[in-house]
Amino acid sequence: MAKSIDISDVNIYYGDFLAVQGVNMTVKARQVTAFIGPSGCGKSTVLRTLNRMHEVIPGARVEGKVVVDGQSLYDPSVDPVAVRRQIGMVFQRPNPFPTMSIYDNVLAGNKLNAKKMKKDEADSIVEKSLKGANLWNEVKDRLAKPGMGLSGGQQQRLCIARAIAVEPQVLLMDEPCSALDPISTSAIEDLIHELKSDYTIVIVTHNMQQAARVSDETGFFNLKATGEPGQLVEFNSTTKMFSNPDEPATEAYISGRFG
């Protein structure tokens, strides 16, 4: 079910402002791809174009091609809602739905789309997703309690469970650990390793150790210069990026000599 993503010559605009320019890369199926780079260089923007979430921001538009498994995402006939059902997303800050219980939060993707399902089928989806997100043992006795009552790390894992409950083909993660403590972060990194066998994962992170730990391939983004659009500086296997990168700029950033 996992799919690969081909990105070619993508320019992303907010209104007249060119935010990211000339991105070319291939995200491989069943691998973890990490995006690293300084703040404001367009990592999250690129990530959001992969499931057309950037369209939520008024004035945002994309030039170029994003092809998922042979289908161009920006074809005029493509329905963004259908795209997002295939390509799930986990956000920087955990955002469980405050009006729903833990159980309903996991099923939100199905329930909000009014998918009819039997009780035992729903139960098994909830159990499978929560186990997949490493949360089942912590919440199995309080599934009817509100999702907002969980700790931050648990909420984030609940959001991951919610995202994988609809069985997407690709999972996008926008700095999923930046609001979490080291223990929750480690739980989520373990989870990413497990999810890799079923999903294509793209993760944006500010933590280079995290990128080195979890990813198979890494893309380094940076601004061309102050006030100019962001660009993809280097895209390589993570081992190569962190040992012997092609670009001097990548090495400077990774080794902390940036600036």
Binding site: M89, V90, P98
Partner: protein, 362 residues
Amino acid sequence: MAQTTQTRPPGPDDTASVPLTKPQLPGWAPALAAVVAFGAAALVGLLLGWGVVGIVAVGWILLLIGLPAWSTAVEGSRKGTDRLVGTVVWSTLALALLPLIAVLWEVISRGAPALNATFFTASQSGVLGAGGGIYHAIMGTLIVTLIATVISVPIGIMAAIYLVEYGKKNRLSQVLTFLIDVMTGIPSIVAGLFALALFTLIFGPGVRMAVGGSIALSVLMIPIVVRSTEEMLKLVPDELREGAYALGVPKWRTIVKVVLPTALGGIVTGATLAVARVAGETAPLLLIVGTFRATNFNPFDGAMATLPVLIFSEATRGGLQEYIPFQLERAWGAALVLIIIVMALNLLARVVGSYFSPKTGR
């Protein structure tokens, strides 16, 4: 630390450390000052015959001078200024509460004697002077306000959804927001004239219809509902909308299933407060609904009594000298009932708001 102290040349700081304690007035000092100030003013005032207003004014000035002066002498000038400002703030609070309490006291003391079983169950049909009740007006107010709510709450909520979710700062939504702001300031008599003109156009002159009053009240209510709903919808974090979109949920389902439930508590509170706000409107009802001495349950046919109009007409109706006290008592009783209804709505809004608000489970 000890080492640095020794190597540094001795200065005034080392010998005399800054004291952290200062003399303080006890907690009951303001109360004592108030008692002394007003007591002194009352004593002098009673001897010289100043009257209540004079005594209170003099007592307040004494307190305003005395407490800060005492505090400055004991605690220093910063605390003294604090006491002065504190006294001013407390007295303005008391001043603001005074009319509210006075109105409540007046209405309760004058209206309570009118309340009895007949007052709530009988109408004014065939009553001259004593007796009868305001059942017809209570029912009228309930019917008129209920229809107004049914008309304006859906319109108001949907307009707010358009403004917040779809009209993101476009031309139309800016114009709408401006018009809604203008509508908020419409005098209620103008809303009544609008309804009267509308119904005169349709049904001819001299029309009396309760639903016309409901439409006039809707004109007043819709902007309030739009405004409060808009604020509540804006409070729903965008992350929740994005979370739903990322699950492949269409926009309209996101609004219905995620945004509205999250904001429901606030929306219901706002709508209930809007109802409470228009339930006491008199002028538009006077124009189009008129008044009637018997119970009328049909909002599409003829005049209907409502509490505000009943209060107005009973208080201003002349008639035989011996009937006037009964009419006034009836007006006060109706006013008390109206206040109770509005207060109940406010309480209901709080209960409903807390019931619907998202729970954390902690």
